[in-house]
């Protein structure tokens, strides 16, 4: 065999040997164990710590919150979706409580083309007038509870009992005086709730408390049913205070519960349309001053000035209390 060919063969064999030795030397133990990759990298990836800890992790300390959340509509939204990942909590400090709930809640609830119809959606500008969502909604139980919304009573029996109320609230539930409320056509559930509150002492009034105390639960239901059955009538107010047009802009903040024109969407809340100006002003001021207690109303009226209150009262007093059929239909 010619010398140069022998040299070539030696060179080739030597290169192959060097290549094989290099490969043996440089290839880590676990490469090729399962395939053309480093098997040790799999446990390395699997060993990373989870950043999101799931609601079960939160439950171990915040069991009360967890119970409320898991029983309500937001149970599909996990704790960490709003409060951020729980890794490092509690050792490294608290998790944030979202401050700007308008920004947060509208991520899911802003009405937007493409969102499925089953998703509850709002027109942000009209829904709350820029108010923070958590003023009315508890993020852990967002649905506003409609307390006892169905009240059944005997209107005829209520009529007899109502004789005692007529001197102030009018024979037909239309009060002759600007400071006492009209009752005709008011929602029965609301009337029953307020009467029961006077009876129990949760709500106090010099005149109403002694009158309500002797009433039985049946009386309360009958009275509520009677006044709810009467036809309401808007009596032009003699008191000239406030500016209804300015009040209309403010009333957007109240619309989600009390309706655009003061016809409440839910029987648990009172209708305001056509109510007495003086009465509305007094009640709003009572809420603001803490004389009447309701967590939702307290939060809503906190920022209102006397002028705001008068404008709002003027607006609602000027509305027709006859329910427009469309207004009733909207959910």
């Amino acid at each position: 065999m010619p010398k140069h060919i022998v040299r070539l063969i030696i060179l080739l064999v030597a290169s192959a040997a060097i290549a094989l030795i290099a490969k043996w030397f440089f290839t880590v133990e676990s490469f090729y164990e399962y395939g053309h990759y480093r098997a040790d990298s799999v446990p390395e990836i699997a060993a990373q710590e989870a950043v999101y800890k799931t609601a079960r992790y939160c439950q171990s300390c915040h069991s009360e919150r967890h119970a409320q959340w898991s029983a309500n509509n937001h149970k599909s939204v996990t704790c960490e979706t709003c409060h951020g990942a729980a890794q490092g909590h509690p050792e490294k400090g608290k998790l944030p409580i979202p401050a700007d709930t308008v920004k947060l809640c509208t991520l899911c609830h802003e009405a937007m083309p493409g969102r499925p119809g089953t998703q509850p959606q709002i027109q942000v500008a009209q829904h709350s007038g820029g108010q923070q969502c958590k003023v009315c909604h508890n993020p852990h139980a967002p649905k506003i509870a409609a307390a006892a919304v169905r009240v059944t009573g005997d209107a005829a029996a209520g009529r007899q009992r109502a004789a005692a109320c007529a001197s102030c609230h009018g024979a037909e539930g239309i009060s002759p005086n600007d400071t006492w409320p009209n009752l005709a056509g008011q929602s029965a559930a609301y009337l029953a709730r307020i009467l029961a509150a006077y009876k129990s002492g949760d709500q106090k009034d010099v005149v109403m408390t002694p009158l309500a105390q002797p009433l039985s639960d049946g009386d309360i239901r009958n009275l509520a049913a009677y006044y709810a059955s009467l036809t309401c009538r808007t009596v032009p107010s003699t008191t000239r205070i406030g500016d209804a047009a300015t009040g209309k802009a403010l009333a957007k903040n109240c619309a989600s519960c009390h309706g655009d024109t003061g016809i409440a969407s839910n029987p648990a809340w009172p209708h305001l349309a056509g109510q007495k100006v003086g009465y509305l002003v007094n009640v709003l001021k009572a809420f603001r001053g803490g004389l009447r207690k309701d967590p939702m109303m307290a939060a809503v009226v906190r920022g209102l000035s006397d002028a705001d209150i008068e404008n709002l009262a003027a607006y609602y007093a000027a509305q027709s209390c006859q329910p427009v059929t469309e207004a009733r239909k909207t959910p």
């Binding site: 192959a16 043996w24 699997a46 950043v51 960490e80």
Partner: protein, 285 residues
């Protein structure tokens, strides 16, 4: 591509693979003979032994031979809140800016008279402006006054293909198909050549310039091996993302695939994706 074309393509791949294996075997036999004296045989024997040496792999509580993961997306349920994107970023230490992400959500909007959909995602300038920051993700309500004929959201992520083209092109074995079906990246072996970023037909991979490696969704492998759900599935408030083990006939994903008429993205590529979609148009790919 037609189905026949795909099958001939696959047949050709299989044939080439066989030839490759035969050549490797011949080489290996020769090499064993040549290098026997160096004790390489011992090492080879040790390596083939080690496959059985391990019990449960990759961790002691998780055996990847028992699982076959798959993912479902129900676009009918998606509300485009982008909590999945947020959760994914936090979970996997993805740079916070809007342009790097493992998962994303596309919005398809057909306006009246339009033949094609308008598509945007959270990194669209209009959406960044609406959120006010590159680090917060939100869809702008930009079509509220337009005449929208049809609109829907489509979550996207790595399809963990059965025949992943990204794995095929990787020159270093840094990305691979795990036995349980997830395509993983070995960050120590990745040299940052970005061939895989080019190869993926779904745009699922991206390059992390800070670390010098390719990254992508890996179905939160560190979570699923601990019995948790991927972070995006955990965060989704409406159940638009479904995850589970196809080996378990009662798992959420098995039920999802069985009870719905599902489709995959770009079936014509022959990649056989493992993310199954419900409620999307032909235009989504």
């Amino acid at each position: 591509m037609k189905r026949e074309a795909i099958s001939s393509l696959l047949a050709r791949r299989a044939f080439l693979r066989k030839i490759g294996r035969a050549a490797t075997c011949a080489g290996a036999i020769a090499a064993t003979g040549a290098a026997g004296a160096l004790g390489v045989t011992k090492k080879v024997a040790a390596k083939s032994e080690s496959t059985s040496r391990r019990g449960s792999f990759p961790t002691k509580d998780y055996d990847w031979t028992k699982r076959q993961w798959a993912f479902g997306v129900d676009a009918n349920k998606c509300i485009g809140c982008l909590r999945c994107v947020e959760a994914c970023k936090r979970e996997n230490d993805v740079p916070g800016d809007a342009h790097h992400f493992n998962t994303w959500v596309e919005r398809y909007v057909y306006l009246e008279g339009d033949k094609r959909a308008r598509v945007d995602s959270h990194h669209d300038p209009v959406n960044i402006a609406a959120s006010g920051s590159e680090r917060e993700y939100r869809f702008a309500n930009r079509y509220q006054d337009a005449k929208v004929e049809k609109a829907f959201f489509v979550p996207k992520l790595c399809n963990q293909c059965t025949h992943p083209p990204c794995v095929q092109v990787c020159p270093t074995g840094a990305t691979y198909k795990a036995v349980d079906g997830v395509v993983l990246i070995d960050q120590k072996y990745c040299i940052g050549c970005q061939y895989c970023v080019q190869a993926c037909p779904y745009g699922a991979r991206w390059f992390n310039a800070r670390k010098g490696v390719s990254q992508k969704c890996y179905w939160c492998y560190h979570r699923i091996t601990k019995g948790l759900q991927p972070a995006c599935v955990e965060a989704c408030p409406v159940g638009a993302r479904i995850f589970g083990d196809r080996n378990d006939p009662q798992s959420p994903i098995s039920l999802f695939i069985r009870n719905n008429r599902v489709q995959v993205l770009r079936p014509e590529t022959g990649n056989a994706p493992n993310v199954f979609y419900v409620g999307i148009d032909k235009e989504v790919s």
